[in-house]
Symmetry: C2
Subunit: 198 residues, 2 copies
């Protein structure tokens, strides 16, 4: 048994916040919104709960910051992967990318959380992302904006649904968890192709 009190780590404010947010995200994804407690977040980050308050002011501050960070992450991932200049691969991959974004790192769960909490305000980032896709890749293919928007709405919704309940849904009917995703991907692909060619 060591006598000396645990040597404290002193981080830069940014690093500290980052560290704490990671813990919060982990908790959110593992235990759901209800599991986002001050002390647990602190524990997971290896700091005292007072430290969390010092950096975020309140538990709401943590939630807000977390939401913002996760959204930023999600949008960034989508946009980045949307960029390849090969138009073919683009159409092919847009589904992949979208699904990945919503499935991995809890993108869908984040969105669900935001919806459930009614935090739909701070989604400006998303709007911008959508606008970018419409005026970018889609426009290049000559899809008119109206239809492009519709396609995006559907695709994102689908990705959302798949990301959220895809796996457990598949397991529920006795299939391997990736089944939903694959089926949705195929469905989306043919649908997209058809819609664009018209």
């Amino acid at each position: 048994m060591s006598i000396e009190s645990a040597r404290r780590v002193r981080r830069s404010p940014e690093a500290a916040r980052e560290n704490i947010l990671q813990s919060a995200e982990r908790l959110l994804l593992e235990r759901g919104p209800q599991g986002l407690k001050l002390v647990e977040v602190a524990q997971g980050a290896g700091v005292s709960h007072a430290t969390v308050l010092h950096h975020f002011g309140s538990i709401d501050g943590v939630q807000t910051a977390l939401a913002e960070a996760m959204i930023r992450q999600l949008v960034a991932r989508v946009l980045e992967a949307e960029r390849p200049d090969d138009p073919e691969a683009q159409l092919e991959g847009v589904g992949q990318v979208l699904f990945d974004a919503f499935e991995s790192a809890g993108g869908a769960r984040l969105a669900a959380w935001l919806e459930l909490t009614g935090e739909t305000r701070r989604l400006t980032l998303v709007r911008e992302a959508v606008a970018e896709v419409i005026s970018g890749p889609m426009a290049q293919k000559g899809v008119d904006p109206e239809r492009a928007t519709n396609l995006i709405l559907v695709a994102v919704s689908l990705a959302m649904g798949v990301g959220l309940i895809g796996r457990s849904l598949a397991e529920l009917v006795g299939r391997p968890p990736e089944t939903t995703r694959e089926a949705a991907l195929a469905f989306l692909k043919t649908g997209l192709a058809a819609a664009i060619k018209t």
Copy 2:
């Protein structure tokens, strides 16, 4: 100011539980999972919080019961509307129904909540419903079970996504809220038709 203490209402156990669950559901849908507090549920139901405990044992008991009730509701609604004997209307309406089920009465939000909370166990009802659809309407159309399952997985996921974020997503890009739903419906319909005919 009335002197007499408010005359208490005495319900049957079932009615009491029902009443409380309704309040809980309202709260869940309005304020999200975090808003599901014992006292608020009680207030909304017009009873003391002790009464809630009397009927459900604990706050977890309330959650469990609520989840169960909402699932039952959701599944029932889907199945019931799946039944019309006109096969044409069936294909036409399956999307409608599905979307309604998930959009109204917070079906999607329920599912999201369950997912976020990790309460995926008590979904046996869902499995049964899916099985029923596969062996019923789908089989009548001669769709092989494998493919039927896939279609259902996709359709449900899509309904889920639309029900959850459809409206706010549409508004986010400056369209009327029903846009997502309509677009998804069209998309699903053509997709389904194509898949079935093959």
